[in-house]
């Protein structure tokens, strides 16, 4: 089944995919054992897995006849840009507060 390429935001927007990622955050799982936890057809589960795979949220390894899914960090990296931005933002702001309070102390 073809899975369209979705970006990180669209990937995490779906509750089933979020739940799959939560399960995978504990341990790697085979597609079959993941599928057992969801009330949907096997092709539907495969489609979600492909979407997560395409967006870099999971990797898939074939071991014997089973396909194992493992959570991967790449998909979450889009968040990193925001986090880096705010890290600098707060550092700048807090230094400004420091200057204000230091000057205030000197005036006393």
């Amino acid at each position: 089944m073809r899975a369209q390429a979705l970006d990180a935001f669209q990937v995490i927007a779906d509750p089933s995919r979020r739940q799959m990622m939560v399960m995978l955050s504990k341990d790697s799982m085979t597609i079959n054992s993941l599928a057992q936890n969801f009330d949907m057809s096997r092709p539907a589960v495969s489609k979600h897995i492909k979407i997560m795979y395409n967006a870099g949220f999971i990797s898939i390894t074939d071991i014997g006849r089973e396909r194992y899914c493992t959570l991967k960090e790449d998909g979450f990296n889009e968040l990193q840009g925001f986090i880096n931005y705010f890290d600098k933002f707060w550092e700048r702001k807090l230094k400004k507060l420091e200057t204000i309070l230091n000057n205030k102390a000197k005036l006393k």
């Binding site: 509750p15 420091e98 102390a105």
Partner: protein, 136 residues
């Protein structure tokens, strides 16, 4: 990946005085941004960025001179990349001054939720756990 921002600063002023700079809009504006903040849990307020966009907030916690937390998100009606997060401040008296700890955490990007209203309660706590690291 880093999921949480943390900064610790020390000031010579007592927590009461530092608290004012976190909770009085006329003082907050001097180092942050203009806002209509009120130290009341549940109060919705906005910071105005220099480019006239807003940071949309809701007060989550107010413990005078000790603890302050609010939701920090961008204006979901005006952006293609909505995010939500939490800003919390902790003040601890040290010697004659104050240790101020800022934690900015719980980042989530929610492009598909723009059409939903009242998004904060809607968020999956499971995803929040996931982004904040697995529970052990």
């Amino acid at each position: 990946m880093t999921k949480t921002i943390k900064h610790t600063f020390y000031f010579n002023q007592a927590p009461q005085e530092v608290w004012d700079y976190l909770t009085k809009p006329e003082l907050m504006e001097q180092w942050m941004m203009p806002s209509d903040f009120k130290p009341i849990v549940g109060h919705h307020f906005r910071f105005t960025n220099p480019n006239n966009t807003f940071v949309v907030c809701e007060v989550l916690e107010v413990k005078p001179f000790t603890n302050l937390a609010y939701v920090w998100k961008n204006d979901w009606t005006k952006t293609k990349t909505p995010y939500t997060s939490k800003v919390s401040w902790t003040l601890t008296p040290v010697d004659t001054g104050t240790e101020l700890v800022l934690v900015h955490s719980g980042f989530e990007l929610l492009r598909d939720l723009v059409s939903h209203s009242g998004g904060w309660a809607f968020l999956s706590t499971k995803l929040r756990d996931l982004l904040n690291g697995p529970k052990k």
